[in-house]
């Protein structure tokens, strides 16, 4: 943000602007940028998901639209979905039904504000950055509950109840897994967290100590559950609940859920990159030419890992999911916090 306002100040025509004006202009530009990034996420990752799934399942995926490996398929789908009839069920609670997808989208959009793309380049450089991201993304749950409840459909209600239970539960290990890192950094500011990992792959938090390594995988598992993707796609379990909470949604409202899913997927991936995988720092020290690009590439690799898992594993059952969360992952993440803390104290300089 500071970089952006400084840059704006240098432009002809912006020089005479007041600080407040500059701030508002910068904020609008940033918000537009984030929204574009999000929309791009959905378009690029739907195409990528199909290609990855195709690769894993020994088929091609889209090959025709746009000539080169069907790159325009996602764009075509977006256009198609825009032209679809927008149906609101007669018995649905109209207000909630219309508002729910927006809330889901808003939840994942808000969280983007604190993501550190490059040194100094964060939409909102908050001191409570990481905390803010978790808080904002938990708004998604309310949207899902609203969607399921207002649809007036039993399957949607099932999906919403499962989704709420799952996401509330998995937010705990998700946040707990990042605590050892926060202890090492001593700050919740996202820029600080990345800056603390300078100096090559060995300084990334994933390789700092064994507990952090475990914490990373705990974070990874929890993040899959948090984004409602296989093997933890309980809320939308295709073969059980038809389509879960978005069963009754059509057209653009459905697309909002879709958009939010992929935005969320990329969000949890970049958080993993930011917290554990060195953010914009390249693995080899001194080779940091394009920090933002490095950051995005790492994020996309994490997304790929997510897709790989999704298209390989069967789905767990809803009670096994809860068991895994409360009886395995939370104790393990707590252990990681303790272990990492003990190492910090005994080994001194590690932190």
């Amino acid at each position: 943000m500071e970089i952006l306002t400084a840059w704006l100040q240098g432009l002809p025509g912006f020089g005479g602007m007041s600080d407040q004006g500059l701030f508002i202009t910068g904020a609008v530009i940033m918000a537009a940028l984030m929204f574009i990034v999000m929309a791009l996420c959905a378009i690029v990752f739907t195409w990528m998901e199909r290609k990855v799934a195709g690769f894993i399942q020994s088929r091609y995926g889209p090959m025709r639209t746009g000539r080169w490996h069907g790159w325009a398929q996602a764009v075509a789908d977006m256009l198609k979905i825009l032209g679809k009839e927008d149906i609101i069920p007669a018995e649905a609670d109209k207000g909630l039904f219309v508002f729910a997808p927006l809330l889901v989208l808003l939840g994942s959009l808000l969280a983007w504000a604190a993501v550190p793309w490059a040194p100094g380049f964060t939409a909102a450089n908050l001191d409570l950055g990481l905390f803010y991201i978790f808080a904002a993304s938990s708004m998604v749950i309310i949207g899902i509950l609203m969607a399921g409840w207002s649809s007036n459909n039993k399957w949607a209600l099932y999906g919403a109840a499962r989704g709420a239970a799952q996401m509330v539960s998995y937010e705990i290990p998700l946040a707990l897994a990042t605590i050892p890192v926060i202890m090492h950094v001593g700050s919740l500011n996202t820029q600080d967290i990345v800056n603390a990992q300078q100096g090559g792959i060995l300084n990334w938090f994933i390789l700092r100590d064994p507990f952090l390594f475990v914490a990373f995988w705990m974070y990874f598992i929890a993040s899959i559950a948090e984004t409602n993707r296989g093997p933890f796609d309980m809320p939308e379990t295709e073969s059980e609940l038809v389509a879960g909470y978005h069963t009754e949604y059509t057209g653009m409202r459905f697309a909002f859920f879709f958009l939010a899913e992929y935005a969320n997927l990329f969000l949890v991936s970049v958080i993993a990159v930011m917290v554990f995988l060195g953010g914009w720092w390249s693995p080899i020290p001194g080779l940091d030419f394009a920090p933002a690009l490095t950051f995005i590439i790492k994020g996309v690799l994490m997304v790929f890992l997510n897709m790989w898992v999704r298209w390989t594993l069967p789905r767990v059952r809803v009670d096994q999911l809860m068991y895994l969360c409360w009886k395995v992952m939370i104790p393990v993440t707590l252990l990681c916090i303790v272990g990492s803390g003990v190492l910090m104290i005994t080994m001194g300089g590690l932190g």
Partner: protein
């Protein structure tokens, strides 16, 4: 984590929060639902995720096939048997042709019988591949679906070359088969495919799905059908064998030339949980694919020369008066055909006993007390096909 021992009787008498009226949620699963494998409708009464009552409602695919049998001649009705179990149509042809030949008593050439066995077993493999694939899909595993369909495609190609069709073959005729082996390569190609399946592909499925930890968690100890229940509900096929009962018509009531071949009957052994759970039923199918491969290899290795039809194709069959019942082992279980003939070109009555119909009824008993997800696993592991249930 088992839900089996929950007290299910008298739900209404249990202590609920005073002052709050609570009731079971009635849930309509199907006829349009991704996990019911067709147009099956399951009427559920649930308390949250637990199912308290499940009633299968069938009949959405009823096509009056048995009534039609009273209006078309014996050869013409063969095409309707294709449409019973459309995933293993050749097995259904086999069932019907066995019944007709019991009355007709033609001299079926050895070569025809061998070709019948080969195509029926190929069809069985195709059907089992779909069973594995869709069961995996019910468990949320997408990738095995595509792998199984890839191999099924090979079988369809092979059957297309010999029978002309890809899905509905109408390959058998009373007294033989419709076409001979198309060319010299066919036998070789079948053997090659079988070898590939045995050596590589089944291992792939096992690595990817069968021994996957999550898959085992989802299917072991789930939907347990004990041997007594299976017998009481007249379950047959992999469902019965999954419960540990070693019964297979091909061995215990041999028809065609199955007595000549050496094969084993895989049964559920409860390796991962209890005997008769979903994993056992799944695994019985995987092992049956291996056995089917063995049968095909033996049948092709000893394929005799000679004619393949006892009755010319253009001759209308007149069946002597009388009644006959035949039972054969289809991919889904035991198909029975009861034919009454009054000596004409058309059957007086034809009653079909279809395996899926009997296998499905067990849901009513075993599905109670399961979670909704487990019910999906149970229905998936029964491997029903609605064309056969509703006929």
């Amino acid at each position: 984590m088992s839900t089996g021992e929950k007290n299910l009787t008298g739900w209404a008498d249990q202590d609920h929060v005073p002052g709050i009226k609570s009731e079971l949620l009635e849930l309509n699963m199907g006829p349009q639902h991704p996990a019911t494998h067709g147009v099956l409708r399951l009427l559920l009464k649930t308390d949250g995720e637990i199912v308290y009552e499940v009633t299968p409602v069938i009949g959405y695919l009823h096509r009056c096939a048995e009534k039609i049998a009273e209006g078309v001649n014996y050869k013409q009705w063969m095409v309707y048997t294709d449409r019973f179990d459309y995933l293993a149509p050749v097995c259904c042809n086999h069932a019907y042709v066995t019944a007709v030949e019991k009355l007709l008593q033609p001299e079926v050439p050895e070569r025809a019988e061998h070709l019948r066995v080969v195509t029926a077993e190929l069809s069985r493999i195709a059907s089992h591949l779909i069973a594995l694939a869709t069961f995996g899909l019910d468990m949320g595993a997408w990738t095995p679906l595509l792998y199984c369909f890839r191999e099924r495609e090979e079988i369809l190609n092979l059957l297309e070359r010999i029978a002309g069709g890809r899905m509905l073959y109408n390959y058998f005729v009373p007294g033989g088969v419709r076409y001979d082996v198309p060319d010299d390569n066919w036998v070789h190609d079948v053997l090659e495919f079988i070898t590939m399946l045995e050596t590589k592909k089944i291992k792939d499925y096992n690595d990817l799905l069968s021994y996957n930890k999550i898959f085992i968690e989802r299917t072991a100890d789930v939907g347990v059908i004990d041997a007594e229940t299976a017998k009481a509900y007249a379950c047959t096929g992999p469902v019965l064998r999954g419960s540990g009962v070693k019964f297979d018509c091909r061995r215990d009531d041999p028809y065609s030339v199955y007595h000549k071949f050496d094969f084993e009957i895989p049964v559920g052994m409860g390796e991962m949980g209890t005997v008769g759970d979903c994993w056992d039923r799944y695994m019985v199918r995987v092992r049956e694919i291996e056995q089917a491969c063995r049968i095909i290899r033996q049948a092709l290795d000893t394929l005799p020369d000679g004619p393949y039809q006892a009755i010319p194709l253009n001759k209308i069959v007149k069946v002597p008066a009388g009644a006959a019942y035949s039972r054969t082992e289809s991919a889904k279980g035991e198909i029975g055909h009861y034919i009454i003939s009054d000596g004409g070109q058309v059957a007086f009555r034809n009653k079909v006993r279809s395996p899926s119909f009997c296998n499905l009824q067990v849901v009513e008993k075993v599905g109670v007390g399961q979670m909704v997800s487990d019910l999906v696993a149970l229905v998936g592991s029964l491997d029903i096909v609605l064309g056969e249930i509703d006929r």
